[in-house]
């Protein structure tokens, strides 16, 4: 089921109908491209994260403070988790931004929802980044021999 729509033959198109030439900057195109590039990276990062944490060894039973300390003693896992945090948060924030733009029709609602979204994103990204970089395996309360 398809209909052929003839190409417009007139060159004299009222500028208000000409969407192609309107210059709105490249933000939406960059966002579109970012979703695809970060998506590919996130498939690798998150599948690796799930495999290392849930599939090998004792899986979920092994996850505790010591497990995290063991992983973050390795700069590779620090970088892995940092990249995952930033890419996943930006990818998810842009996805939710698109959904708000699609469904919230009142300008005030859109501004509020996106404001809440951006504040949450900044808080989570800053918090997560600080936690990865300031992690201290011998934090007060850890009584393992290596910390005595």
């Amino acid at each position: 089921m398809s209909a052929d729509i003839a190409a417009p033959r007139s060159q004299r198109i009222d500028p208000k109908y000409n969407r192609a030439r309107k210059s709105r900057g490249s933000f939406e195109m960059v966002a579109w491209l970012f979703m695809r590039l970060s998506g590919v990276a996130l498939v690798v990062l998150i599948f690796g994260h799930l495999f290392a944490n849930l599939m090998v060894g004792d899986g979920i039973n092994a996850i505790d403070f010591g497990f995290v300390a063991g992983k973050w003693a390795d700069p590779v896992w620090q970088f892995w988790d940092l990249a995952m945090l930033w890419l996943a948060m930006l990818h998810g924030t842009n996805g939710v931004r698109t959904i708000i733009n699609d469904y919230a029709e009142k300008p005030a609602t859109r501004v509020w929802l996106k404001g809440i979204l951006y504040v949450a994103t900044i808080v989570i990204v800053v918090l997560g980044t600080l936690v990865i970089f300031t992690f201290d395996p011998c934090i007060a309360g850890n009584s393992i021999p290596a910390c005595q």
Binding site: I46, M55, I60, N61, V68, A69, T93, G95, I124, G128
Partner: protein, 126 residues
């Protein structure tokens, strides 16, 4: 939305349902991500606080929830790769339906493997 827009090529078929699935799983994953960063941040509070919250993940009900979350992630991942092929591969739009069945087949295989391993670890204990 006007009634005249019903009956487009997209409505109600693989294209629309994969789009709905991608949105729903995306929102679910994003909400979990917010919580997951917060729970992991407890390693900066104390080992006891982190271990206490992690122990709440280690029960049979949560194991089913984790499996559902991974099901959402795996669908979003495979369907996202399909989306990229639709956008960048010259025959992508022609084969988008076949690729969705491929996504669902890979999703089933991955989830069977994941569920066997994760649920036996979670329910089996040791």
């Amino acid at each position: 939305m006007s009634k005249a827009s019903s009956g487009t090529l997209y409505r109600g078929h693989e294209g629309m349902w994969s789009w709905v699935g991608h949105r729903v799983t995306g929102v679910v994953i994003f909400l979990f991500l917010l919580v997951h960063v917060l729970d992991t941040s407890l390693v900066r509070v104390s080992p006891g606080a982190y271990d206490a919250v992690m122990s709440t993940y280690k029960n049979p009900l949560m194991a089913l929830g984790e499996t559902a979350l991974v099901a959402a992630i795996v669908f979003h991942a495979f369907n996202g790769l399909r989306l990229i092929l639709v956008d960048f591969w010259k025959s992508g739009t022609k084969y988008h339906r076949q690729m969705l069945w491929g996504v669902l087949a890979l999703w089933v295989i991955t989830m069977v493997a994941f569920s066997i391993r994760h649920l036996s670890l979670a329910f089996g204990g040791h």
